[in-house]
Symmetry: D2
Subunit: 378 residues, 4 copies
C-alpha cells in the first residue's frame, strides 16, 4: 500500500522530468537552428567553444554521468567522444585541449546530432525504466544535467554572438525581434537598505547549483542600490568625459589593460561616421541610449562607478536587494536575445534577465561550503 | 592579311588556355570533393589554411589581377573578399591576418563555390573577348594564375592531410588507391658528376616562376648523388641507432628543436603495439619500408645524412643531376596522393614526383634576379 | 601660552619622528650591508626588484612626496631618477618598466647611496624647519613613507633570498644565527570562536595603511582555528601521501599549475641523497620538521588544508583570532631572518612574526573603503 | 742534431705564443677597465652576455680544452664554473641557460678576475713545460682559444655599447677619441670585376676559423662593387624619401618587422629637436653624415640597396673584391671604437675595419666543408 502511495509522486515527478528533459534538449537545437554548418565549427577565441562542441559536451554529460552508471551494459556511442567532449573533469580522465576545439572538423555536425538523438533515446528509456532504488539519484543527476545544459545554452548564445561579431562580414544570426513599444526610459533612482545581519544563499526546496549554498548570515552596512542598470547613454557620458583616458578612474590592472589593448568603448561597439554602432545577433545596429550597457568588463564597470562617484555593490548587497522583486524579466523565452530599456513603472527592475550584472566581490565559496565528493558532487 | 595570320595562332593559344583554365579550376574542386563542409573550415595550425580559403584565394587572384584590370566596369563579387582573400600582396592592400583564417565561418562553402562559378563565367567571357591589344598580357597573367592555383592544389592536399591527421579520430579523406604491383626495392646507387662550370635556371620557352630565373653559370666540384630517395627503412635504421638521442648528428638549432618538441620520428608517425604506423590520406597505415621517407624536416634530413656519412646536395647539384632524366613520376594525376617505392630498373628515379626533396641550400635569389615591378611581377 | 603648550608636543613628536626616520633609514642599509656590489643589481625574476632599486625607490618616495612639495625651490637630485624609481604611481608620471629593472647598471650602488645621503640631509632639515602650518601634513607623510620603507625592507629580505637561492652556487647571504634552545614542538591544538557580529579593521590612534580601514562589522559563523602554523613535518606528511599527485586535493587552477611547473615541494626545497634540504639566507640547510612551513603558494596551502580535512581561515576569522594575543614574535629585530618552531607553552602563538599566513579570502577593500584623492592618499 | 734544429723553431714559436697569450688576455682586461662593477653584471637583452660572463667563458675555454687535457692532475678552479661558463658545447655537458646570464650575481667580478689570474698562471706553466709530443696540439688549441677570445672581445665591445645605450641615463663608457682630421668624404665610385671562375676560402699557412675553409672555386658573373661603405648621409636620404614607410623597398619579413617594431631609423638613433643623434661609446653624439652607417639590420641594408637601385653583394663577390686591398683599417688598436669617414684617396677602402658589412648570402658551409670530430674541431 505504501508502495502505491510512494509510486504516485515518483511517477508525477518522472513525467515532469521527462517533459523537462525534452524541452531543455530541444531548446539547444532551437538555438542552433539558424546556424550554417560552418558556424558550428568555429572557435573565434580561446574562451569560445564551437557550437557543435557545446551540443556534444552536454550530451556526453548525460552519457557519462547517467547512461554509463545506470544503464547495465551501456556502451559509449563512440569510444573517443569521452576524450573529445569532457571539459574539465580531471577525475574522469584526460581531455582534449580546450583552446584547440576549433580545429576539430570531425565529428561532423550531423554526427553530433545523431549522437544527441541516440543519447536522447537512451535517456528516455532510462527515465521510463529506472528502478525505484536509484530513482532519487537518477532524478537528481538529470536535474543537474539539465541545468548544466541550460548554462551551456547561455554560453551558446554568447559564443555565437562572438563568432558572428568577430567575422569581418558581420553576418546576422537571424532577423531582429522588436522589443515591445520602446519605453521612454527613466532616471536612475535608489533603494535604501538598512544595516543588519541578513541571510543569503539557497533556501532549499528546488534545484540550485552547489555554489549557491549553504545559506548563511552576513552583516551588511546600510547601503543604497540603483533601481535599474546603467544605460548605454549613461556609459557614453563616461566615455565622452574622457573616461578611457584618465588613469584616476581605473584599478591599476584595469588601466594597464586599457592601454595594452587600446580599449575605447565596450566590446562590439564601433564608431562609424560619427556615431556608435554595436554588433547584435541581428547584425550591426545603432547604440540605443536607453538600453542597459552590456559587454563591459569588470574593469570598465568599476571605472564607470568610480567616475560616477559610486561603487559596485557586493554580491551580498545585490542578493539582498534582488530578493525583493519577482523573478521576472527579459529571459531567453522572450525570444529577443537582446537587452531592453527599463520600463517606466518606477519599481526596481531588471535584477533578473536582460544583462549579467557586475558586483565588486570575488567569486569565492560561501562560508561553510564543502565540495561534494566525486566528479559531480551530486 | 597579317591580321589573319596573327589571329590564327592567337586563337589556338586561346583555345589551349581556355581548356587549361577549365581543367585547372575543375581540379581544385575534385581535390575538395571528398570533404565534408566542416573540413573546409579548419586551420589545424597557423601554417595551414582552410580548404575553403584556398578555393577563394585562387579565385580572388583571377578577379583582382584579370577581371578588375581587363573587364571594363567590372565590380568585385563582394566588397570585402579582397580583404579576406588577399594573402600577402602588401601593395594591393591590407589583408586579414593569416593565423585567424580558421575562425571565419562566413562566407560559407556554398558561397565560395558561387564565387568561383561567377569568376569562372567572367573569365570565360574575358578569354573569349579580350582585345588583341592586351591579349599577350592577359594570356601571361592567366598562365601565371593557373600555375598559382596549381601551387595551391599542392597546398590543399598538404593541408587536408594535416587537418585529418591532427584530428584524434584520424578520419580518412578517401579510400586508398593501391600503387601498381609493389616494387621489390633496390639498394641505393650513386651517379657521378664531374667538376666544372654548369648552367642552371629556366631556359625560357614555356612558363616558369620568376624564382627559376635567370639562367646562370655555377661552378661545381665533382660530386656524386644517390639514384633514389632515402626510404622509410633506411630512416628507421637511423632512428633505431639512437639518431634522435645523439646531439652529434644534429645542427645546433635542430638539436634544440628535437629536445623542445620531443621529436622521436617523422611527422605523422605513431608507434602502436611495437610497430610504426603513419597517417595517410586513407587513414593510419603501417610504415612501408620501401617507400621514400616523407614529412621530415630539414633538420631531420640533415641529421640523417650526417649519421650516414653523407651530406645533402646543394640546389645546383640537385638540378644538374635531375636534368638528365625525363620529367616523369608519381604526380597528382596518378591519383595515388602517396609516395611509391622506387622501381627496380636501376635508372636514377624519383627526381620528379612522389616527394619534395631537401637540399642544403637556403632559398635565395639566383644571381642577376630582379623582382619585376608591381604586385604580380608579370 | 597655548602656543607654548602646543609647541611642546609638536617638538616631542618631531624628535620621535626624527629618531624614527634615522632608525628606519639605517635599517635598510643594515639589511644590505652583507651584499656584494653585484648582488644589488640582480632581478632574478620579474617579481623581484634589485636591492639597489629598493634603496633608490624608497628614497625617491621621500623626495617626491616630501622634499618637492615642502622644500621651496627644491631641485631633484637627478632629473631622471623620478622616471627610474617611481614604481607605479601612474598619476605622478610614466615610469621605467618593472621587468627591466635588472638591466640597469647605472646609477651605481655608490651613486644610490649618495642619493640616499643627500635626501637624508634634506629630510633632516625639513623635519627641523617645517613651518607649523604644514607640520601635520609633513608628519603624516613621513610616517607613511617610513612605513612604506619598512614594507620594502620586507621585500628586500624576500628578494635577496630569491637572488641567492636562484644562483646555482647557492651562496650564503650571511652566517646563520641560531634560534634559542630549540623547542620540542607540540601538537596542533584548536581555539574555538562563537558565532556573532564582530568588528575588524583599524581602530585608529596610530598608523595603519589605508587598506586596514575602515573599521566595520562582519558576521562570523562559529569556527575553530589552529593554535600554531602548520609545520614542515606536517607538510611532509602531505607530500609523502602523494599530495602533489592527486588532483582531488587541488583547486582546478592549482592542479594545472602543479602539472605545468612540475611542482613537487615548496619553493627552495631540494631533495639530495634522500633528504630534503632548503635554501636559507645562510645557504642550504636540512629541512627542520618543527619549523613552520614557508614558501608555499596559496594553492599549496589550500591543497594541504583540504587533504587534512580542514580549510584555510577567512581573513575576518584570522583577524578575530589574532587579536586575542600580544603582538610579539620573531620579527626582523630578532636578527634570525628565519622562522622558528612554536614554543611549547600551549598558548596560541605565531599569529605575528615568523611567517606570512594564508587565508582563503581574496584581497578586496573593506566595506566603506574610499581611496583617498591624489597619488598618496594621505 | 736534427733535434736541435727542430727545437729552435719550436722555441721561437713558443715565445711568440706566450707573448700572444699575454697580449690577448690583457686586451680583454683593457676593454673592461672603464667599467663599474655594476656594468659587468648586466644582460640588457637576451642576445647580450654580461661582460663578466665573457671574461669567465673565455677563461673556461682554456681551462676545459687545455688545462684539463694537458696538465696531469689539474683540478678545475671551481666545480660549477663548467656549468656556468660553457656556452653551447652540447657534447661537453649541460650548461646554464643563456638568457639568464644576467641574473647571476655570483661569482663576483673580483672572483672572476681571480679565476683569470689562476688560469693565466697555469697556462704560462703549460706553455713553458708542455712535452714536445703534444706541443703541436697544445699550440693549435692555444691559437684557437686566443682567436676565440678575440671574437669575444668584439662581442664585449658590442655588448657594452648595448648595455650603455639601453640605459635611460645614456652613460658614456669613456671619453671620445677624435679621429684624425676629418676627411671631406668622397662620392661613391665603383670597381669592376669580370666574369669567371675564382677561388675563395682560406689559403692555409696561418690561423683561420674552420668556416673559412676549404678553399674552393666559384663562378661569378661580371659585377661591380662600391669602393666604400654607404654613409649615414646616404642612408638619411633613404629615410627622408620615406624608406621606412614604403613596403615596395622591403623583403616581406623585413616589412613585417618594420611594422611590428615601429622601426624608423637605425638602432641607437634618436631624433631630438629636429636632429638625429646616435649613441656612441662616448654617449649621445650628432649623426655624422660622412661616417659609414652602422647598426642597420640585414633588412635595412637590403631595403636601402633596393631603394638605391642596387643590391647587396654576395659573399663570394665581396671576398673577391676585398682581396685586392691591404688588410688595413680602423681596428680595435686604433683605439677609436667608432667608424670613421672614408679617406679621400680614391682607392677602395674600408673593406677591413670600421664596420661589419652585409652580404646577401646566407651563412652556409663552403662546398666540401667537414665539421671536425670532437667539441673543438681542432
Amino acid at each position: 500500500m505504501g508502495l502505491v502511495a510512494a509510486e504516485a509522486p515518483v511517477s508525477s515527478v518522472c513525467a515532469a522530468l521527462v517533459a523537462a528533459y525534452a524541452a531543455v534538449r530541444a531548446q539547444s537545437g532551437s538555438i542552433c537552428a539558424p546556424l550554417a554548418v560552418e558556424d558550428y565549427v568555429i572557435q573565434s577565441m580561446a574562451d569560445v567553444s564551437p557550437p557543435k562542441w557545446h551540443l556534444a559536451h552536454t550530451t556526453w554529460f548525460f552519457e557519462n554521468f547517467l547512461l554509463q552508471p545506470f544503464v547495465p551494459g551501456y556502451e559509449p556511442f563512440h569510444p573517443r567522444y569521452g576524450y573529445l567532449f569532457n571539459s574539465y573533469y580531471e577525475t574522469v580522465g584526460r581531455f582534449f585541449p580546450r583552446q584547440q576545439r576549433g580545429a576539430l572538423a570531425r565529428p561532423t555536425v550531423e554526427e553530433i546530432y545523431r549522437y544527441r538523438d541516440h543519447v536522447d533515446r537512451e535517456m528516455r528509456d532510462l527515465l521510463a525504466t529506472a528502478p525505484a532504488a536509484c530513482w532519487d539519484e537518477v532524478a537528481a543527476r538529470v536535474t543537474l544535467a539539465l541545468n548544466h545544459e541550460q548554462q551551456h545554452q547561455e554560453l551558446l548564445v554568447t559564443d555565437i554572438k562572438h563568432i558572428f561579431a568577430w567575422n569581418p562580414l558581420r553576418p546576422a544570426y537571424r532577423e531582429r525581434r522588436e522589443a515591445p513599444a520602446a519605453a521612454a526610459g527613466r532616471p536612475q533612482g535608489w533603494r535604501e537598505q538598512s544595516a543588519g545581519v541578513y541571510e543569503i544563499g539557497h533556501e532549499g526546496g528546488d534545484f540550485a547549483f552547489d555554489n549557491e549554498s549553504p545559506r548563511h548570515r552576513v552583516f551588511l552596512n546600510a547601503f543604497r542600490i540603483a533601481d535599474r542598470p546603467v544605460t548605454n547613454g549613461e556609459y557614453l557620458a563616461f566615455m565622452e568625459s574622457g573616461g578611457y583616458r584618465n588613469p584616476a578612474h581605473w584599478l591599476s590592472q584595469g588601466w594597464q589593460t586599457v592601454r595594452e589593448h587600446g580599449w575605447q568603448a565596450p566590446l562590439y561597439w564601433e564608431r562609424t561616421e560619427g556615431a556608435w554602432r554595436t554588433m547584435t545577433l541581428s547584425g550591426m545596429r545603432p547604440v540605443d541610449a536607453l538600453e542597459p550597457v552590456c559587454h563591459v568588463s569588470y574593469f570598465e564597470a568599476d571605472a564607470y562607478a568610480r567616475w560616477a562617484g559610486r561603487r559596485l555593490p557586493t554580491e551580498a548587497e545585490w542578493e539582498i536587494a534582488a530578493r525583493n522583486g519577482a523573478v521576472e524579466g527579459n529571459f531567453l523565452d522572450s525570444g529577443r536575445l537582446h537587452p531592453a530599456p527599463a520600463d517606466d513603472t518606477g519599481a526596481p527592475t531588471q535584477f533578473f534577465g536582460d544583462v549579467w550584472e557586475w558586483t565588486q566581490s570575488s567569486y569565492s565559496p560561501y562560508p561553510g561550503y564543502q565540495p561534494a565528493a566525486g566528479s559531480l558532487g551530486v
